[in-house]
Symmetry: D2
Subunit: 132 residues, 4 copies
């Protein structure tokens, strides 16, 4: 599991004084990049023409987050199939188990030349399995 912290600022909020729904997707993306650069050789991905593509996000908004709160974003792999995987991302108030948002993020690794999802096997699969 990988953990990232973000402090809620005024520009994250919307009409209701809550973090906006769309902004959480940026928080989740931030956490994914942070998790990945710890575990994967992203330069090698680039050389091999591999891209990480999200194909589905199922996100539940549990409790509004407001100004000054510190959010902890936990990212782990919850499933890996032949050609796709699912990351489980949970946002909680820092140091508590108070759920703010959680999401299942289904992804594929695509070959930039063909645009097709490649099989998750070999080193790539092992690197992902290290999240489990």
């Amino acid at each position: 599991m990988n953990c990232v912290e973000i402090k809620v600022r005024g520009y994250h909020l919307d009409l209701y004084g809550h973090v906006n729904n769309a902004r959480y997707l940026e928080f989740l993306e931030e956490a994914r990049w942070a998790a990945f650069e710890d575990r994967f050789d992203l330069k090698e991905w680039q050389q091999r023409g591999l891209s990480f593509f999200v194909v589905n996000i199922n996100i539940s908004y549990r409790r509004p987050a407001t100004l000054g709160e510190i959010l902890e974003i936990r990212t782990k792999l919850s499933h890996i199939g032949n050609k796709s995987g699912v990351l489980r991302q949970e946002i909680v108030l820092k140091g508590t188990d108070t759920a703010v948002t959680d999401a299942d993020v289904t992804f594929v690794i695509a070959d930039a030349r063909t645009g097709k999802a490649i099989p998750l096997e070999g080193t790539l699969r092992s690197e992902f399995e290290a999240f489990l």
Copy 2:
């Protein structure tokens, strides 16, 4: 069904030259507001202290959208329960049936004083049912 158009601009794109995942949630929100102001008396909502809250979004990314493409966002009600409803939102390339993104957006109408979801009944329910 309500229909809104958005032209893809440079600032909507990300690393891959595609509209960013988070940005689609802004497009969907834009389309919901446009749909709602056509159908609901939003000033009355405000006076009654009612707020529209999204509790879940299940979004699938079907095909990347790129610079200059015109997106058509179709919004309709697909389900209405006692205390929650589901909007179906589909983004296609304008004038075609080429799916770009689609989402099921589950919502409640909350009373601002109690923070609780109110029953979807009476005029409110009729107004939503007009989407079906």
Copy 3:
């Protein structure tokens, strides 16, 4: 002069219920693209490897804009030099002269291969001068 309209939505607002400072830069960019595609052959720019780059923005926030207000964004060229120009962009409440925001946007046209600003001459200059 070119004119674009944007309606203020909940996701444009910040902590204070006002359109966020950063968001105005997206509104201005939207208005520039809309103005440019009316006047320039952007496909030819792309073929010639030309890019529009902003080098300075001097933006004044005159009056907060809030939910539901309709903003009118006026874009015109206020100055053109040998290698750079200045666009004047004014945001007002629609149908009034109530100033919300105004900005001077200094730009260059760069050659993608060299990364250097090219002289604003010939057809390119004439096209810009049509804004004046």
Copy 4:
């Protein structure tokens, strides 16, 4: 002077693979909040009904920032007048003096009840002067 770091991610980029112009304003706002919470009693501001409002930003884009670069944002007070002040914010590549972006941000402190700028005097002035 206060210093904040941000790593450039895919969702910060635009069409050209560079951090988008509007995004820098979010980076600058992030850095201002980080600087302020170190120096000011923001809870007391809230109790007194004081708000920080930006009235002008003059921002120069010096060098594009791209994926994976780490930006260092330096914030200091460069001028303080009777009713307004100017923050100088510089974004450089971390650990270097390579300028990416710099901005002069003119602000007032407004009283939420009257909406007017208050004089920068007493404790408030001393707290700001500590930046100089």
